[in-house]
Symmetry: C2
Subunit: 498 residues, 2 copies
């Protein structure tokens, strides 16, 4: 067997393990009875240990050296070798005792965080979060040494391969200078328009689910390779060819579940569209979290908060709930789905104010990893930063620096991908609409195929064939910048808001 075939076989087995873990994780969140938590934790821990052992298998280095010398490989195989090397380098960068210490610290910190958040008590979280931060910093240093990166870039690299703080600083500084003034303008424009007429519930869960399934089908989701279920925290997970998404239903407000389903469907379409021939190989994986988030936001924010989408969806909504009246007209619904409001909570934010939440977290986590700021000062720095970026100050830390699980759960370096994703979504949707003139009119008819076809070709089916920058440049003609995102916001919230 060739070295390449040995690698492909080995990483195929790692994918098979990862698929098993993905389904067990999904089950834990969606199906598992409470009393099984301990048993499940043992199974998942075992599979993760085995998966890690496979990922750092000593033979990989030799296979890579031999495969590099193989002149018979095609472009995809070469790209797969590069991804295998990248993944393997990251996996072998951390000593086992650091992985274990980090895993324990995270478990403790997540548990502490649930109570601390409920109590709005940052001091209660401080000791365990200090330990998580210390270990994250140590991990960043260890990975950074191996990769030739700063500790923060090394952490960022786990979520956004090739991502660099220097580039993000530039993009986010641009946005941070633009958004406060723009938000003022958008709110002023909004204040001059009548509020959309009310829509009255309750909205039965079964009707919401049926509506969600119809919209998923319209977007192009393949139900032969996935499902829609309910969980406390909506997510898109599962396995190769088994891309499952979840939502939660609020009988008083169907829009949350609907927009959530559209968001997760965007993620799922990416996963379902990964290259079939390389589905279980590193090169066949999604490129990174900013592209992933771009696919969810492209559907949720770019495609499905357009007047075109609501022209298609409004009749479906009325039919789903047997509703009628001025609030159910497409234009009123469009107004409802493009409301801007300054708030404290990131996950509730609209697309205009969302970047402020992200830029704040990005700047803070970068400073904390670089040890430029004591963790004890986080609450004050948070409040000050949010005031500067968004003009509001949370009344307590529950609505402030305690709101997200990312830091307690060791997800340092993740936050910027949300806003990189939003900007990428704008740039991709713009390019798609230029290349496929029927993309937007298609949405108006409930036909997402022109849009999805373009995404399949230019993003989904390319997996990790190219770097994020190259992928975006090939798709849109240029690397990421804030211009298209800003133009999109201006068009939607100033010009078009007649």
């Amino acid at each position: 067997m060739s070295a390449y075939a040995s690698l492909a076989g080995h990483f195929g087995r790692i994918a098979a393990m990862s698929n098993a873990i993905g389904i067990l994780q999904w089950d834990s969140d969606v199906m598992m009875p409470r009393g099984a938590a301990g048993t499940r934790a043992e199974s998942l821990a075992l599979l993760r240990v085995l998966s890690h052992e496979m990922a750092v298998d000593a033979r990989i280095g030799d296979w890579l050296a031999d495969a590099d010398a193989d002149t018979g490989l095609g472009d995809w195989e070469r790209a797969n070798l590069a991804e295998i090397r990248r993944v393997w380098t990251v996996q072998t960068a951390l000593p086992a005792d650091l992985v274990e210490a980090s895993s324990k610290a995270i478990s403790l910190c997540e548990m502490t965080w649930r109570q601390a958040r409920a109590d709005a008590d940052f001091a209660a979280l401080l000791p365990s979060l200090t330990e998580v931060l210390r270990l994250q910093r140590e991990a960043g240093i260890a990975k950074g040494e191996k990769l030739g990166l700063s500790p923060y870039d090394a952490l960022l690299n786990d979520y956004e391969p090739g991502g660099r703080a220097a580039a993000i600083d530039e993009l986010f500084d641009d946005l941070a200078a633009f958004l406060p003034g723009f938000t003022e303008q958008a709110l002023a424009a909004q204040a001059h328009r009548p509020e959309p007429a009310a829509i009255e519930g309750p909205f039965p869960v079964e009707a919401q689910r049926a509506l969600g399934l119809k919209v998923m089908a319209a977007l192009g989701y393949d139900f032969e390779r996935g499902r829609l279920d309910v969980s406390t925290h909506p997510f898109c997970g599962g396995a190769d060819n088994d891309v499952r998404l979840t939502t939660r239903y609020d009988a008083a407000d169907f829009s949350k579940a609907l927009m959530g389903v559209i968001h997760e469907t965007g993620h799922a379409l990416y996963e379902q569209g990964r290259p079939a021939d390389h589905m279980n190989q590193p090169v066949g994986q999604a490129r990174g979290m900013s592209i992933h988030e771009s696919q969810s936001l492209l559907m949720e924010m770019q495609a499905c908060r357009t007047r075109e989408f609501l022209a298609f969806a409004a009749p479906l909504m009325r039919e789903a709930f047997g509703a009628s009246g001025p609030g159910w007209e497409a234009e009123a619904l469009w107004r409802r789905y493009t409301r801007v409001e300054r708030g404290f909570i990131r996950v509730d934010a609209d697309e205009v104010t969302y970047p402020a939440h992200v830029i704040l977290r990005y700047r803070l986590e970068k400073a904390l990893i670089a040890d430029e700021m004591p963790l004890a000062e986080l609450p004050a720095a948070w409040d000050e930063g949010l005031q500067a970026l968004l003009g509001v100050t949370p009344p307590n830390d529950r609505l402030g620096c305690l709101q997200d699980i990312h830091w307690p759960s060791g997800g340092w370096g993740y936050f910027p991908t949300y806003t990189l994703g939003a900007m990428t979504a704008a740039q991709l949707f713009d390019a798609a609409c230029r290349a496929e003139p029927d993309a937007l009119p298609g949405i108006g008819r409930g036909d997402f195929m022109p849009l999805l076809g373009w995404l399949r070709t230019h993003i989904h089916a390319l997996g990790s064939r190219y770097s994020t920058d190259e992928l975006l440049t090939r798709a849109t003609g240029r690397p990421l910048d804030a211009a298209v995102f800003k133009a999109h916001l201006a068009r939607r919230y100033l010009d078009a808001a007649d």
Copy 2:
């Protein structure tokens, strides 16, 4: 770490893997979208290979030798060592290439069988079933050599540790001599009674599900450690502390799902009642398939086809479906649930005719493994055997020798456990009612605790602490014989059928 502790840790990890496989298998049957079948097969194959590697780990033999010399172990630990040695001996008996060849042959044969059954075409199945049989025979020979057993006993041993064809022959010959005449008598007695008045559907699935849940709760099922779902083929599966059962609903006949749920709940109660302190150890597992089947049949046939149960359940049924009328009286329902009928299909058979189906299969598979009969003669031998045992001949092989998946899927040696289970159930229920005079009256009040308490103490919580024979002897005062089963049938179908 002591050798015993090393073994316990190792077998704990094997249990964690087995629990992962159990949930993935459940998901395949209950939740998985069709397009994920290939991906799931790869994950399950990998986990099974890893599980097998753990089970034949070279260190186990050394640990066992050291642990045997450990004088500080208690009775449970000693029993665990014995089970570990038993499991390990069986696992190491088969060469890896035989396991792999068998697994492939089974996959092909199962696929072929689905079509062959639909077409009633035994000839289409013959080549792939010949291969499965050949490999089963080879496996029986390999295991038999290691265990000092005949090939058939070696296969039987996988499902019924300690089970021997010689003992089964005796029990089954006894039954086979008794049943044809008894069936005649039972049918004659039944013919003299009026048929139970009709009960009219449709029976909405949600109402059936709610009724099933109520009955499960009454039986003592712990919903914190399990779930009820729907699948094409009802089963009880899952993992330690996560005992999931399934059913399927027929809107025209609620009794199928209800009795199916009771049957699977019997299995589930056994699994949920295994010894908590040894849940993930070999000694903590269910004793074998005949005891397992005895627990399902004890609930379905012994406990829940009594007049007492129907006095409790009839009002629940009427309430569930908003029904009334003579067919819904407890006595009419009892008649309905104790109907005897000669049929072709094992899974549809009542408790009087069921053993004929099993004895037929047992005799045939024993002859086939022993190479005493060409596989091509199976259809003719089947028809002849069923005529002799039950007095009916199937019109085609779909209703004859093609009806069960057991042989195509490599389950040779499994069939006898159904009827051993039925006999064991009778013997255990009889002993429980003698020891706990409130067991049967309790059922009449929907209080299964007197019965369940006895089962917990004498069966469930003992796991694999004793052999099947010793377990039954300790619980009932004697090893298995057909006397109690025959007396039960006579009482229910002749005497009490006034």
